[in-house]
């Protein structure tokens, strides 16, 4: 785990190498995180993987979260691991929702980390984030003909209203 000053050093070196790549850093609960510009996420991941002294060679997990109503709305998280020093570093790409039913887009990390292939498919499946350059981007867990992005926060919970005695009058003609 890079400590808080170590994280700042990494952020500074990254910003020297790729201007404006790191938007923000935070270090909480002994976890280090870089919030990066979604346009430069591949550059950041490549730099962290290949720069001598950093060498985060292992992508432990790739997942997304919906931070609605925060802006930008989505966060795609890359959990990196240095196997020699046993150091973990989280990179979060802050992806904005384009709105108007269009899907947010992000560069695919499959070229850098082959393990990202299925995990990016999962993110696409549940959040509708399109990964540019992914070799085979389709749903992985939901049925392929499924419509909607079920883990977005504005997706309806689903199910059917349950009629109890206390609310049966509020649901008109429930018996049909």
């Amino acid at each position: 785990m890079p400590d808080a000053p170590g994280l700042e050093l990494i952020a500074q070196e990254l910003n020297d190498a790729h201007a404006g790549a790191v938007i923000e850093t935070y270090h909480e609960h002994e976890q280090a995180c870089l919030i990066v510009d979604p346009g430069q996420v591949l550059a950041v991941l490549g730099w962290l993987r290949d720069t001598p002294g950093e060498e985060y060679r292992f992508l432990a997990s790739l997942h997304a979260a919906d931070y609605l109503p925060a802006e930008p709305r989505f966060g795609v998280h890359y959990e990196l691991l240095n196997m020699h020093r046993v150091e973990r570093l989280r990179v979060r790409a802050a992806v904005a929702d384009p709105g108007d039913g269009e899907l947010p887009e992000l560069d695919s990390a499959v070229e850098l980390f082959p393990t990202a292939e299925f995990q990016e498919r999962e993110v696409y499946d549940f959040f509708g984030i399109v990964f540019r350059g992914h070799p085979d981007l389709r749903r992985i867990l939901m049925p392929e003909e499924y419509v909607g992005w079920p883990l977005r926060r504005d997706f309806p919970v689903g199910g059917e209203p349950v009629i109890f005695t206390h609310n049966e009058r509020q649901v008109p003609r429930w018996y049909e």
């Binding site: 939901m142 049925p143 499924y146 909607g148 919970v157 689903g158 059917e160």
Partner: protein, 235 residues
């Protein structure tokens, strides 16, 4: 009191004494020899024959020799497994022969939540079973979706297939499942087809029926082609 009532209703009476039993045995022996005639023959028939309809005997047999499919969906399956154990012992009701193939099974127990990806598979298994067949939806999830009110789970298995018995519980205890099974037996003895299969468009979905339909369709096509060929002038 109740037992006496039942005995009074039953046409086959127990012999009241050792002598009566002996008389019956001798009558039966004479019958086998072909010696029994007249009043004795009538008495023998009255004593030993029970009149019923074939349907009733058939349904009685069906209800007491059900082969359940070995099929579990989720955590309810653990409770379902224990009904074959000596403690609960579904063999008392003649349904201990779990069949690993739907083609040999009569009853499907939906033990757990049905996800929307599993639903077509379950329906296919149901269609592969031979008639007569019955379904028990075990537990809250397969009956109504239960606690899984979300995007992944079908809200009640009767949305896509006919279900004969719903057993409530989360999960139901094995006793509850056995009780549901007894209800199913009673249903089979009374009226084996409550018409749900037609309502769910599941009548005639067995594969043999489908094949017959295909063959029939093929014959029609063949006939049409033959007619066209016959009516065409020789080239």
């Amino acid at each position: 009191m109740r037992r006496e009532k039942i005995r009074a209703l039953a046409p086959l009476e127990q012999p009241r004494s050792a002598e009566e039993l002996r008389v019956r045995q001798l009558r039966a022996r004479d019958l086998l020899r072909g010696d029994l005639e007249g009043e004795d023959l009538e008495k023998h028939v009255e004593d030993s024959v029970l009149a019923t309809s074939l349907e009733k005997v058939l349904n009685w047999g069906r209800s007491n020799a059900i082969f359940p499919a070995t099929f579990g969906l989720a955590c309810c399956a653990i409770e379902m497994m224990s009904i074959v154990s000596p403690r609960y012992d579904i063999a008392r009701f003649g349904a201990e022969a779990m069949r690993a193939s739907p083609r040999q099974a009569d009853m499907l127990i939906l033990s757990g939540r049905v996800s929307i990806k599993m639903a077509p598979v379950v329906r296919r298994l149901y269609d592969q079973m031979l008639e007569p067949k019955w379904v028990i939806a075990m537990g809250a999830c397969s009956s109504s979706g239960g606690m899984f009110a979300n995007y992944a789970v079908v809200q009640g298995a009767d949305k896509f297939m006919p279900v004969d018995i719903h057993v409530p519980g989360c999960p139901p205890r094995p006793e509850a499942l056995l009780y549901g099974f007894n209800k199913l037996q009673r249903m089979i003895r009374g009226n084996p087809d409550p018409g749900w299969r037609t309502r769910h468009n599941a009548a005639g979905t067995e594969e043999w029926a489908r094949e017959e339909a295909i063959v029939a369709g093929g014959m029609e096509e063949y006939e049409r082609a033959r007619q066209i060929a016959l009516e065409a002038p020789d080239a």
